[in-house]
């Protein structure tokens, strides 16, 4: 028990970093993902082509590699990023690509009749999107979105590669110093707790969205 007290502060500050990356990714990637999913439906070939290329790169290479490239690679060509900024940037553009595909699927499953009805009633494109289409897309995508959020909780552990101290790294340091596996157990428990919270929140919102079908 005494042991636990010695590595707890390290783990708590690691937790802060983990949560920081988590929340900034959620906040940044949702709007970017929506924009990218709309751009995939653009009438301009070049826009669709660019967005598809972006999504291909983001989904086609490991996030770990993207982190390394954005932090070390861009610094070498004279675009220096701070460690946290690099992590936030890499996570946001990576997760936005996955979310864009999810939103695109959601957008496709809203029937054309909904767009027609809004148009006949005189709603503008913006009003149609925000008042009619988006609420229906949200309901459709919540389960797959939840999957991505749970993945994100665990993916935050990748930031060790650019020298950021997240919770897993704090656990590793404590484990190496005290030659014990207990810190890892504790870290595992914290991840489980975080995914449990995410799951409960998402189940709750699914339930609330079920008042209509």
């Amino acid at each position: 028990m005494e042991n636990v007290m010695t590595f707890l502060p390290g783990i708590l500050s690691g937790l802060q970093m983990t949560l920081g990356v988590f929340f900034i990714t959620i906040i940044g990637s949702i709007p970017l993902g929506i924009l990218a999913s709309l751009a995939m439906k653009s009438p301009y070939f070049i826009v669709r082509w660019l967005v598809n290329g972006y999504i291909w790169i983001m989904r086609g290479t490991p996030l770990l590699l993207q982190l390394i490239f954005i932090y070390y690679g861009l610094a070498m060509v004279g675009v220096p990023f701070g460690r946290f900024e690099a992590a936030a940037f890499a996570f946001i553009i990576n997760y936005a690509a996955y979310l864009a595909e999810i939103f695109r699927g959601g957008l496709q499953s809203v029937p054309q009749g909904q767009f027609d009805a809004a148009q006949v009633l005189g709603l503008s494109k913006m009003q149609t999107f925000f008042k009619v289409i988006l609420p229906q897309v949200v309901k459709i995508v919540v389960p797959s979105f939840g999957n991505e959020v749970v993945n994100l909780v665990k993916d935050t552990s990748l930031i060790y590669v650019i020298g950021l101290g997240d919770i897993l790294r704090a656990g590793s340091i404590a484990a190496a110093r005290d030659v014990t596996l207990v810190p890892y157990l504790l870290v595992g428990a914290v991840y489980l707790l975080m995914t449990a919270v995410v799951t409960i929140i998402l189940r709750g919102s699914e339930k609330r969205l079920n008042v209509w079908r």
Partner: protein, 212 residues
Amino acid sequence: MIKIDNLSKQYGDKVIFNDLSLTLNDGEILAILGPSGIGKTTLIKTLTGLEEAQSGSVVMDGQEFAISDPQFTSQIGLIFQDFNLFPHLTVQENIMLAPLTVKKMNRTDAEEKTNDLLAKLGLSEQATLYPYQLSGGQKQRVGIARALAMDPQVIAYDEPTSGLDEKATEQVVDVMLTLKKEGVSQIVVTHDLPFADKVADETFDFEQEVQR
């Protein structure tokens, strides 16, 4: 009176209709008849601006418009064959959405208007239900109320009796005749002849009167 002239529509080489002319007198019900797949729905979509026509003009209240002019198309309310109610909004919200967002009506007025429409169409008890909780006939009437809330000059119906049982069809007839009494002009596309007989003042036989 609304007079449509020289209306033509084709998809590629396929001519749906050519040089079509139609007159709708104020307060009348015009039934557009013909078998399925002949282009009746395309005609009504053209009138509501959902489809573009190759040519066509319209005279409404003595003023001439291009057929796709929003000033004209916004005067036509459409009741879709499959209703297309907004599933995430209650009956009341479905009806209020366009008055609030498009007409920028204030909420109290919009609510009052909605409640009047609901009472008129016998839907007051359903005001807070969602579309999935309604029967086909009720959905149909919500669609009508939603269109009426924008005060269009004309209400257009696309196959309003398809999928409705006899009783619900009777209710549609009642609603249409009530609106007629109030002076609302209506166009109804249908292949249900007995129904057309009950409501129509004028009929337009798509098969015979349309050049293709």
